[in-house]
Structures are given as C-alpha cells and as structure tokens.
Subunit: 555 residues, 2 copies
C-alpha cells in the first residue's frame, strides 16, 4: 500500500493565535477566525490538497466535507446507501423503506411510501430550535426556506396513562397551574405568612379569584361557543385529584417546556431533507466528491506500522482500498462496531462498547381531510388543532399534526414516535401490524382514525430506526452522569492513529445527540482538529450537567 | 320624505323552524340553516329587495353587508373615511395618519408612514386565535393566506416594573415554576403528607431534582453556548425573592397563557387588511354598494310617526337623506354619541352613556436589520428572538417582533401598545415625542434602539386610536360584572324604532370587544335579527363571567 502522506500544517496557527481561535470557537469571541466560516477561507491551505475520506454522508459527514473542502482539503464521501442524509430523511411518494430482516440480518424492502404527490413527512429530525444557530445559519446561507414548527397548541390533546379519554391541553395545563397556585396561597394564608406581592403573583400565575381560590378560568377554554347574548364562561376545572391520578405528566406532557422544544421552532418548507440537499450541493460546489452505494468493509489504522489509515469499501460489486491522509467516520457507532477494524487503541475499542443507541420508531399517515383542524363550515366544537403534538399513554406515545399548509385539504401526521421498550415492541412487528396498532392509538385521540377511507392503510409509512441498514438506532444514549460514559465520550473526541489520522463525527459525539446541531458542531470540531486549531486531546470536563434533564432523558 | 317600506318577511321561518335555526345559530347544531352561511342563500328572499343602509365599513359593517346581500337585501355601506376597515388598518408607505387636534377638534394629518416598499405593520388587530372560527372561515373561503403569529418565544424579554434590566422569558417562566413546585414539595415533605404521585408531578412540572429542590434547569437556558467537549449546564436560577420583588407579572407577562392568546395564532400574509380587502370585494360581488367619504350627520327614528328611519349624510360636499327599510350602525358608540339623533328610546340613549371606549396607542418602527433575531455569523449570545412580545414596565408596555419574513434583512416592530393612563399620556404627545419616548422604552430592552440609522426616526409611525377621527377609541370597555353594564349591553342588542328598523353592530356589542371575531359574531347576529331567525329581545343572561379574566381586563 501507499505509505500515508506526511501530515503538513499549512496555515496552521500557533501559540497565541491558536488560543485565540480556540476561544473564538467555543463562543468566547466571534467565529470568523475559527476555521469553518466563510472568512477563514482566506487562509485555506495552498499546494497539493491533502485527501480526507469521509465515511458516511449524514448531516455531519456532509458538513465536514463542505467545511474541509472550503479549507482546501480534497474530500471524498463514501455513502453506503443510495441517498445521503442518514436519519435526515423525508418520505415522499415511491420512496422505498428498507429494514433488516430479523432472521437473515439482510436488508429487505418492507414497503414503499404511497403518499399523494406533494405530500411529505419527516421520518427523522422534524424541528429546529431557535438556539441551534449552526443549522439556522446554513439554512439562511444556502437559502433553505424555513417556516415555524408548532410544537404545542392548547388545542392539542393528552390521553394520560390512567384515563380512558383525552383532555385538551389547555384544561390540563391551566387547571394544574390553578390548583398548584391555590395550594400555595392557602398555605400562606393559613400560616398567616401573607405577603401581598406573592399572593398577587399566585393570583395571576394560576388565575385565582379574589379569595385566592381556583374556580376555573377561561384559560382552560370556554364552557360553550361564545354567543352574542352572553359573556364567555370558563370550562369547569378538572379536579386536582383526577389530574394527579391520571399520571398525565408521564405522557411527556411537559416536553414543550424544555429548552430544546421551546418556541420559536422551525422546519424547512417542503421537508427536512432540503437541508441535506443544500449541504450536498454546497459540498460538491466546494469540491467534495460523494460516492453513493459505497459500503465500508474495513478500516486499518497504521496498517504498515508507519502511521496512516487504510479504508476498504465495496462499490458496484467491486472492492476498493484507499489510504487518505485523514479519515473522518460519520458511521453510526453501532454500525462501526460491526465493521472489520484493526490497529485501533484499546481505549477506543472500549469506548465503542459503552454507548448504546436508542431504539425509536415512527409511523406516518396521510389523511385525506384535515379533520383535526376542525370543520370551519360547522359552528360549535371544532377541534382547531393547528400543529403541535397530542400525547398518550398508548404505545404510539405521540401524534404530530402538520405545521405546514394549514387550512389545505390533505395532510400528513406522525402517527407514532416512541422510544425504548415501546419502540422495541413496535419495531418487532411487520409494518402492517405497526400501522394497525398505531391506528388504535390514534383512534383513542381522534375517532376519525376509524375511517380507513379518510386515513388509508395503504398510505401509511413506518420506520424502526434501530432496524434500518447502516443506521441501527436513533441516537447515542449518553449518560454523562456515569463516569464510564464520560470517559468513553471523551475518548471518541480524540483521533486515532500514530499520526492522528482517524476521527469520529456525528451528533453521536456531541452533547446534542439526535439533533442536527450536534452533527454540525461535531463536524466543525473535527474539521478544526484536522486544520489544527482545536486540541486533539480533550480538556477535563468541568460542567455539571442538568441532572433533571438527565433523569428525564432529555439529552 | 318617503314613508318607510312595510317590513315583509319572505322566507322567514316560523315556530319550530325558527327555534331550530336559533339552536343552530348558538352552536347547538350546525349553522348551515342559520341564515348567514352559503347554503342559506337558497332561501334568500325573492321579489324586490329591501334596502339596508349600513353605517360604517368596519369589519362588522362589511360582514353585515356581505351576508345581508347574500340573503337578498339591497345593501349600501356609508363609510366616513376614504378607506374601509375601521381599526383593521395596516400601515404601508405613504399612508396618511390623521388625529383630532386637541384644541380645534378637527382632524389633522400628523404624519405619513415612510416604511420601505413591501414593509407593513398592523396598527389595529394583529392576530387571530385558533378558536375564532368565523374569521378563519372567511379567510379560508376568500383565500386570505394565513401564517402563524408567534405570540411568545422563550427568547422574549421581560423588564419588570421594579428592576433595571431585562430577563429572558425562559428564565422567569421556568424559574418561577421551579420555585413554586419546590415550595409545595417542601410543604408535603414537612407535613409528612408524602404522596408519591404528586411529588412526581411537581418534579416534572418544576424541573426539581431528586430531592425535590429546585436548583435550576436547562429550561431556563444554558449557562453558555454548548461546546462539543462538555454537556450543557443550566443557567443559575433567578432567586425567588428577586422574582417576587420585581413585579414581573404586573407587566402582562402571563398574557400568552390566556385563551385569547394561546397558540396557535394566525395573521394574514401581507397584513391584516387583507381581510378587509376580501370582505369588501365579496360584499360588492354579492351586490353591496360602498360609499366612501360619506359622513353620517343625523339619524331620525320614526321621523313621521309611522315607523322607519331617516339617515342624513354628507358626501362630496353635498347633503343627502335616505330612508332605508333597515339601518345597521357599525359606528363606534363614542362617535354615534356625537351624531344628531332623534326618536331613540330613553333606554337606548341611557345605554349609549354607560360604556366607555378604551384608550390605546401603538408605535411602529422600521429596523434596517433584524438585530433581535441575532447574528447568525456570530457564535455566542445571539438573541434568537423570532416573533413574540417583550414586556416592560415602561409606558410602551410591550414590544412586538415580526412573525413574518423571518431571517430577512429588514423588519417592522410594534414599539408600543398600551392602554388606559399609559395610552392617555402617550396620546397627548406629538407623534415626534411619542417616538422619542417609545425609543427610550425600547432601548431598555435592546440597546440597538439607540442607533438611529438602524431604527430611523423618520420611519416611525404612531397612532392614538382614541384620537382617530370616526373611531375615538380602541374597544368597548364592558364590565359585565356591573349590572348597569349588562343592562346597557342587552339594550344595545335590541333594535330601535316602531318597526324594529335600527340595529347596532360591531365588536362593541359582542362579548369579544376588540376582536374581529366579535365584529363578525355581531354582524351575523344582526343579519339574523333582520332576516327573522334571531329574537329581537335578548334572553336573560345566565352565565357567570370569568371573574379572574374580568379583573385582568381580558374581555
């Protein structure tokens, strides 16, 4: 084999300069000097470009290809599938869904998406928080049009684990606020610890009456549709005991309160894969090559004892071998584990074993009428659900309503999005049985799902990400409170090989697993390690993560 | 004068039919038989159409013209101004703003809107709740494109009355939740009244730790921008004492929790007056005539002792008199009070005196860069405000960020929207001084407002609705808890005149004052009174209004 090229360091900053750039990169200063934004292209290296081989064309792989190409490296992406994007996938008519057969372990075509033309549904990431600045920046720079993603409307429903019928979000959310505020107010009054300001806060927080009791509020909606002759009256409050006994909060009811799901969220107009299209287009413009259907079959670190890396892959029924200067692996860790490897450090091999990937399934429906938005030709109890999510104790866990094309005729819904055991159970079923189960869960929220003409069976789609070839899971289930996890995480941030030639990237090695922002953060990080402005070893972790969020599995 | 035409009752339902229609109208059944939706056009009256004169082309006046025209009446709208829409007004380049001179009482041109082309700002209503079904139905039927109006993002700010610097919404909202939940948990534990389920609810509600203490949460945001090497840590919680002492809730911080402002809200793409354009267009299509610049100068009920109504108005410097079969007044009550009237009942005259109209001002800014959205080319502390409202104890009360054209270059903001004394004070100033004051209030939230190139003085607009000719206020300040108000309200729902020929319409005689839904409800009500399917006298009010909402001035 060709000996690995010597690692040059053209344009590499040193000393204070490197420090300044590092400061910039971690947000202590503007990133215009950090190596991955436009202005740094001025210092892109000259001379013969070094080869970077990127394994996997997910969001991180494409981002790394784009940014390293801009920095003057010669990038090639090997993508095993016939499309780039990885879990960023939007289902449209005729799209084929493959999963691994449980017996043979081989990919089989399970079904095709049969949505009507122009309808689509995001099977992977579906929303962008306002603080995911890298994603937003790429969308703006590459003219990916964004529209608001509605995470929650008070017209959404919750069907708690211990009740048999759903409640509107507005009643649960606001009656609980009221009951809790009244409880504190009562305590204050009983203790004679009356503080006017706090009582006033509680009154407004919980919509208490003048006596600091909670007797219901129009926040929970009106008792009936308003009429001219009368003033709206509140729906009667749900009894606190019923709310507590229902276990409604165990159905993820408060997820929209968490930072990652707070308004204002966005989604690309036309489907999340508009981001993939843009990244691939721009990476190619910057010089990167993308090879589809190229399945990595082996990775050898230091194959000949003098550093370097050799990658074997199979494409068009032929075996290929290549020895780039750098190799960046965007291959999901569960997949990487199954690829023949040699020469990796013991620490690296141990780290691969620590983290598990989350099991997760989605179901998608086409509805031929947007019944959840309500019938504007009928007065009275229209649903009025425009976007957001209904939560349920049923296996489907949640039901997403479309945030796009409000008031149009047809629409697509996410009919299940579940995790862990619920996803394992659902994923073991055939697609047909998954849809049957998902329909039952949806009927509990909306009886209209009984109508198979309105929501046709043959237009349903489903995916079990943990069974998808070349993916094998939703995201890395890091438990940063566990020392072994933190150790493994840090290990994976460090390059392998005598001459630091092999890097792992993806949201899987970011503090935002499952988020495109994490994928991009990681790609920037690796690009800067290669470019030489990011340390190759990781400083001690000093921050104490949010234990509540950890408990709730929010990372 | 011509004697009034005898009131015919073509197609008027009787007995059970009327009852059924009434049931339908109040929402107990579908409205397809209630007289104002499409299907009822089948029973539109035949023969020579009766004349209906509509005074005022606001949303209610236009809606009444549309629906009565569809029902076969010959409608004419007299509009005093040179545009229809009333308070539904969207400011664009070159629009002229008139207010009454305090000394002379005459309208004077105070300034022109100088926004750049394509920029606009709603000076009146700015949002549509998801449960305002009439507005949504007209928008859908008349192809008025809607987009989400973002009422709140957790990136918004609040500058409480007793603090000097603003806090992000997410910190205030979530730290208060945490502190309150911890307080109840502590009480439970102290009392040894441990109930596992309630404690678990509190833990999730308030993001408490395993010991049921609140130590902060990432719900309040991260301490710093996330980096690859570390897990996000929460911003430290604002001390509860500081939150209570700040009086933040008095700055309307919890308004987005109330039903009228809950997600999902909408706004028409391109400006709220797209609704006015559509209503006027469709009313004309249905046969209605609209006369602009026609100022009503007198209304005589039963002018000759044999019933009927005579309306005098001035148009093109000529006086006109007309005697329609029906007259529907969409004139704001404060304006109607100043019009020469005769023949009205004592009860009606007394009712006019009861209700006051709210004083309210708005200020609008053009910003040449959307600095509040943050700079995507800079890492770190970008604002990331996409829509929503920041609240302040300053006179401006609130600052609205645009929910349209996110990520574009320029944008318009509502730089003040205030009420009562704050509006009275602001309204007494010259437009120039209003803008000066509004700039100070905005600087307290965003120092960028200091930059007069970024936010130019000469592109600011302002309106004091209580000083606008033919408007004289924001909305009827009904106090339904006061018997005199309820009596007056009911009186205004009943027609005047021997032969029930004069009707009042508008959001001013609806339980949703200040909302377009209220205007449309009222127009439908009056149309049905005239058509004969709605009682002319009002049933006793039985509902008890939401006292909390009343206290907070939410009606």
């Amino acid at each position: 084999m060709t000996p690995p090229k010597k690692r040059p360091a053209p344009g590499k900053p040193v000393g204070n300069e490197a420090k300044a750039l590092y400061q910039a990169m971690i947000g202590a200063a503007g990133p215009e000097a950090t190596g991955w934004t436009g202005p740094l292209q001025a210092t892109a290296k000259t001379g013969e470009p070094e080869e970077v081989l990127i394994l996997g064309g997910g969001v991180a792989g494409l981002t790394a290809a784009l940014e390293l190409s801009r920095l003057g490296y010669a990038c090639t992406v090997l993508e095993a599938q016939n499309r780039v994007g990885g879990r960023n996938r939007t289902a449209r008519k005729d799209d084929e869904l493959y999963e691994l057969d449980e017996k043979t372990g081989r990919p089989v075509l399970t079904h095709k998406c049969a949505f009507d033309d122009k309808l689509y549904l995001n099977l992977g990431p579906g929303r962008i928080p306002y603080h995911h600045r890298r994603v937003l920046k790429y969308c703006r720079d590459f003219k990916v049009a964004l529209e608001p993603y509605v995470m929650e409307t008070t017209a959404n429903l919750v069907r708690p684990p211990h009740t048999t019928k759903p409640w509107p979000n507005r009643r649960v959310a606001n009656d609980v606020r009221g009951h809790l505020a009244a409880r504190i107010a009562q305590e204050l009054v009983e203790k004679d610890a009356f503080t006017g300001e706090l009582l006033d806060l509680l009154r407004v927080f919980g919509a208490l009456d003048e006596g600091h009791k909670y007797r219901g509020s129009t926040r929970s909606g009106y008792l009936g549709s308003p009429v001219v002759e009368d003033w709206p009256t509140p729906a009667p409050p749900l009894p606190f005991e019923d709310l507590v006994n229902s276990g409604y909060w165990k159905a993820r009811f408060y997820q929209p309160v968490d930072y990652l799901w707070q308004a204002t969220m966005f989604q690309p107009v036309g489907g999340m894969d508009k981001i993939v299209d843009a990244l691939a287009r721009e990476a190619k413009k910057a010089g990167a090559k993308i090879k589809l259907g190229a399945v990595v079959t082996g990775i050898e670190i230091d194959p000949d004892g003098v550093g370097g890396v050799r990658v074997s892959y199979r494409q068009n029924e032929k075996d290929h071998h290549t020895t780039p200067v750098y190799c960046v692996s965007n291959i999901p860790i569960p997949v990487l584990k199954g690829i023949k490897r040699s020469g990796f450090s013991k620490e690296f091999e141990a780290a691969l074993k620590v983290v598990e990937f989350e099991k997760t399934c989605k179901v998608g429906w086409q509805a031929n009428r947007r019944f959840w938005e309500g019938d504007l030709d009928q007065a009275g109890d229209s649903e009025g659900i425009y976007g957001g999510i209904s939560w349920t104790g049923h296996n489907i866990t949640q039901l997403w309503y479309p945030s796009n094309d409000f008031f149009s005729d047809k629409g697509t819904l996410t009919g299940a999005y579940n995790f862990a055991k619920a996803a394992d159970d659902l994923g073991r079923m055939t697609p047909k049985k998954r849809l049957e189960l998902a329909r039952k869960g949806a009927v509990e929220l909306h009886p209209e799902f009984e109508d198979r003409k309105l929501v046709p069976d043959d237009k349903g789609v489903t995916i079990a990400w943990h069974k998808v070839p070349f993916q094998l899971g939703g995201w890395a289930d890091w438990k940063p409170a566990e020392p072994s996890h933190l150790r493994a995480y840090k290990q994976l941030l460090q390059p392998e090989g005598l001459d630091e030639c092999f890097y792992v990237t993806g949201d899987q090695v970011s503090p935002l697993p499952g988020w495109q922002e994490g994928a991009m953060m990681s790609a920037h990080y690796v690009a800067q390690q290669i470019y030489g402005i990011m340390p190759l070893s990781v400083p001690e972790v000093v921050a104490v993560p949010d234990s509540v969020a950890l408990t709730q599995g929010l990372y």
